[in-house]
Amino acid sequence: MGIKKLTEVIEDHTATSIKTNLLKNYFGRIIAIDASSSLYQFLIAMNSDVSSGLLNPLGETTSHLQGMFYRTIKLISKGIKPVFVFDGSAPVLKSGELAKRKARRKEANEALKEAEEIGTNEEVAKFQKRVISVTKKQNEECIKLLKLMGVPIVQAPCEAEAQCAELVKSGKVWATGSEDMDSLTLGSNVLLRRLFHSESKKLPILEFNLQDVLEGLQLTMPQFIDLCILLGCDYCESIKGIGPKRAFELITKHKTLEEIIKHLDKSKYPIPEFFPYEEVRELFMKPNVTPATEIEDFKWTDPDIEGLNQFLVKEMGFSDSRVALGIEKLKKYKNTAVQTRIDSFFTVIKRPLEEDKDNGKSAKKKVKTGSKGSTLKPTKVTLKKKPAARK
């Protein structure tokens, strides 16, 4: 899942490039959402107890539809325009990782059976989470639901995150919404995490800005990709013994993976057998995507009320009053005037960075924003008895 410990590296070296913001402040933005990663989240979040999970009359789980329906409405009611991107086939290089995941799942399945017999409830729940996978049928059901809701979807030829990144790069959407950090490696300029976290947790949205991250880490994009491969990605194994700290040091010192491997003490850090880093690099730089120019402009249409009722209430056993409420919301926000963003009316005349260069001042001296508490300090208050003769 994503890049190992990339968040940690970013937090350690350039914490200011991670912004926190409230969901409502993203109104008017078009956001490409990695549907597969969100589906997985819904299934985990609402399936913690399978026996009493959300089921339809046929006994199939409906957590994914619940999540998709209500959370999408939440986004829309905040004025956000979501576009869902679905995975196509996985790239060949990922097969190793996928096989590993499958094996892990199988293992967990066995452990689950054992836990159900002798273990505690906690253990059962723990293993239940590990056996979850998103089936093809669940994917298709979600596509059907989103179409009925009038939300645009994009079918990626390969990985959804790569397609999201392509959409961001072309400016068709503003950001990628995903929990996987690969989105940055793939070139999404803006990545939003925690879009679907429930509001009760009161967690703000995390906004990663690729340019800020690169500036903060003082890396170029190719170096950043190499760093990600070194940290460990889905496509190849990583070098044992190299954690986030070492990886960052190495890339800063040697600049490329080739150089790192040349200088690395092979006896201490053996290069794994399967380490096709050149191909992986290619995969990050030129992933298999549908070019944004071939994708039609996104349209958010009115929800198909009858279709939604038929599908959710009759087939999936949702409560009809709650579905009606959801549809009501969808319609309401579809028809209200949309608040426009002020920044869309003005052009940027200079970026702050250039300005810093112009003045040649060191910004390091200053207190970073985001540090808590006001930083005021009265130096002195002088009381004079007589008015001083000052101009």
Partner: protein, 257 residues
């Protein structure tokens, strides 16, 4: 070295009171021609543009441009320590990490100085063009404040429609609807007159909440100028006597395609 001396510390206090509820931090860009500030609120619906010309200060000394990033909340608190008639001096060294505010009482028997740490704020500068507006309305600032206050009881979105006869502010909400129409005045003193200069009739929708925020600047000026054109942000401008102006841009609410 930057140093500016303002006879009325009170003015800056009023400015801060009107903008610190919209933005938390902002850069004060100081250049030889004066001090300017541009900031957007967190949701990026409004843009604040403040211009203080150098000739409005009693003395103004700035040999090289610098920007002072400040927490407006802290600054507002510090300015509360200034007496109403105090004289304010702003000082910052080149490459400084703090800025000093000195308040002197009119009789010069009490001097206080406060040092505030500067913040590093990433802020983009936006180019603001002086465009020709379809409708320009001038009215007493207290009147606009009252309209916003009265209408916000009813709903959240205000529709402003202007034609040659006058300006109508309308709101509708769950409990009902309301309209307030303002007509141009022909008599009375110029400062408190209402004038409506409309090339063609115009109707725009705005979030009332933000307009209400803007009217916190009412103490700065007896009159306010509202400029509107179709499909672009409204500009609400308060002149600051002999010093410059404070204007607010508010993005309109548009119906979908």
């Amino acid at each position: 070295m930057f140093e500016a001396r303002l006879l009325k510390a009170n003015l800056l206090k009023k400015i801060l009171e009107s903008i610190s509820t919209l933005v938390e931090t902002a850069n004060f860009d100081c250049s030889p021609s004066g001090i300017s500030l541009q900031a957007m609120d967190a949701s990026h619906v409004t843009l604040i543009n403040l211009i203080l010309r150098n000739d409005g200060f009693e003395s103004y000394n700035c040999d090289r441009s610098l920007s002072l990033g400040l927490s407006l909340v802290s600054l507002a608190k510090i300015l509360k320590c200034a007496g109403n008639d105090d004289v304010l001096t702003l000082k910052a060294r080149d490459e400084a990490d703090t800025v000093t505010f000195v308040f002197e009482s009119p009789k010069n028997d009490r001097i206080s100085d406060f040092e505030i740490k500067l913040l590093e704020i990433k802020n983009e500068q936006y180019g603001i063009r002086d465009s020709d507006h379809t409708a320009v309305i001038k009215m007493p600032s207290a009147e606009l404040q009252r309209i916003c206050r009265d209408l916000s009881i009813i709903g959240e979105i205000v529709t402003i429609s202007a034609d040659k006869q006058g300006v109508k502010f309308s709101v509708s909400g769950d409990s009902g609807s309301g309209n307030i129409t303002v007509r141009p005045t022909s008599d009375g003193d110029a400062e408190l007159a209402t004038s409506v200069d409309v090339k063609e009739p115009i109707v725009l929708n705005f979030a009332l909440k933000f307009l209400t925020h803007f009217t916190k600047a009412t103490p700065l000026s007896p009159s306010v100028k509202i400029s509107m054109s179709d499909g672009v942000p409204v500009v609400v401008e308060y002149k600051i006597e002999d010093l410059g102006y404070l204007s607010f841009f508010l993005a309109p609410k548009l119906s979908d395609e």
